[in-house]
Subunit: 295 residues, 2 copies
């Protein structure tokens, strides 16, 4: 761990400076900064949730309709009906999850919300632009990235994985699959044992530190013991419903772009001067897909 | 993700209730709660650091002299010379590390501190009570637990791994190895690419949520941009130096205990009613070694 940022001109480069000298070994951050326009895909405004938190902070989520279409459609309908407005963050369990819900879980579901969605825990591998990772995985025969998402597969079916910042749907005991009226995100070591057991529906693309720095709940499973401890959600909007001038715009690196392959290689084999021994491999959840905000 | 704790009698059991009915499938927490006395080893008071944080919170760290003896001896000497008293937490990088230091990094090192310790990044596998994990790992030929620590090895050498809560020694560019005068802990997805590149010296056994809930630094590498944002360290003590009546006492589950094998199996194959598909494997850093405080 670098002792201070000031002695670290070389290491700090990986934070995004694109001014690497010709022929230099590029760090992961430099590769991302130098990636051409066609290495990126835009996040569709219909897939972007903008959550305003009390105090002015904002958390932005990309939805993944290609993996959980019914749950994602439910979430859009819930958001458009104002379900999460005046809601709250009610659970913060250290090294595990932050979970939030609408103002009143007992309200009738808005029109258009499917009360019992199918268990969208897997999808066919076919049809996904899948890029395998060479490294071994403790949980699946093969892992890698598909359409810019962290994905595991068994050769036939593919599923999103519970990496840091991924967003999933709270549910009760099976056969319940959750409607999307309660959501959570991962804030610690990837709880991959939840893969294929819960519908993952997206990932946080900006603002996760608003959630991860919240006081941990002291009740069972990290729920707060007193609603006064909750953090208020002011409102949640879909970017497509916001005036174009206010819409945040994000791009995700295409997992089939050559820049992405170089980025993964550089992350698995750190050649920065700080490192004495590159790892030669990388865990799927230690290879987050680059995301950038467009101004 | 369970929607609320109240509907979750079954799932909540894993939090520690030991009253499972005869013949029932035990959850990881139940196995830990039911483990016999000889499944545990005490943490030697000489290996326990007690860090008092401004506001009354406490963070407790177990040192690992079997892996980094010179660095650990340095840390003990630094603590006993008051190095960390009135120090500060100066870096909080989301999904990565929290880092802290003494009050003045430019002070002369106290007597007995080795200025240039060897690179204690590995040790012989021989001599370690190593229990391999069956699951595959992205970074090492074999991983598992040795003497109650998360360990990777190549058949000859063994090393501690950068799992959540592990504590390491900040250093400058190599050949610097750090003295122990700045320490960090992991607060996100295991940055295993740091394994064998930095000296790991222990783990947090209590109070990590004091650190993980701190506001993230906005400077390079998550350093705070203004010292006013630092969190003050009141003092750091070694439990052995505290009056016996004040000493915290901890026990770590022995990785060679049958209870530990059962715990790992239950974590890899969740049989709680919440799960529809047990994973059948587990990542090393998703198998934290149980630790308990003795009152």
């Amino acid at each position: 761990m670098p002792k201070t940022p000031f002695r670290l001109a070389l290491f700090a480069l990986l934070l995004g400076a694109a001014a690497a000298p010709q022929g230099a070994v590029l760090s992961p951050g430099e590769i991302v900064a130098a990636a051409p326009a066609d290495a990126w895909r835009p996040v569709a405004p219909e897939n972007l949730l903008v959550m305003d938190i009390a105090g002015g902070a904002q958390v932005t989520i990309e939805l993944a309709p290609a993996f959980a279409p019914v749950h994602v459609a439910n979430i859009r309908a819930l958001v458009r009906a104002g379900w999460f407005d005046h809601g709250s963050i009610e659970r913060v369990q250290d090294d595990y999850v932050v979970q939030w819900a609408g103002a009143d879980e007992k309200r009738a579901l808005p029109a258009g919300v499917v009360a019992h969605p199918p268990a969208e825990y897997e999808r066919p591998l076919a049809g996904l632009a899948f890029r395998p990772l060479a490294s071994r995985d403790a949980y699946a025969a093969q892992v890698g990235h598909g359409d810019g998402w962290p994905v595991a597969n068994d050769g036939r079916l593919a599923w999103l994985t519970h990496c840091y910042g991924m967003v999933g749907v709270g549910r009760d005991m099976p056969p319940d699959t959750g409607t999307g009226s309660e959501l959570y995100t991962v804030i610690g070591q990837a709880p991959r044992h939840l893969d294929r057991n819960i519908a993952l529906v997206g990932r946080i693309v900006e603002g996760i530190e608003v959630l991860t720095a919240l006081r941990r709940g002291t009740g069972d499973l990290g729920f707060y013991t007193d609603p006064k401890q909750h953090t208020a959600i002011v409102r949640v909007r879909i970017a497509a419903d916001m005036p174009a001038s206010e819409r945040p715009r994000f791009e995700v690196m295409r997992s089939d772009a050559p820049s992405f392959a170089r980025y993964l290689d550089a992350r698995a084999n750190r050649r920065d001067a700080f490192f004495v021994r590159p790892a030669g491999g990388i865990d799927l959840c230690n290879a987050p897909v680059p995301v950038r905000r467009r101004r």
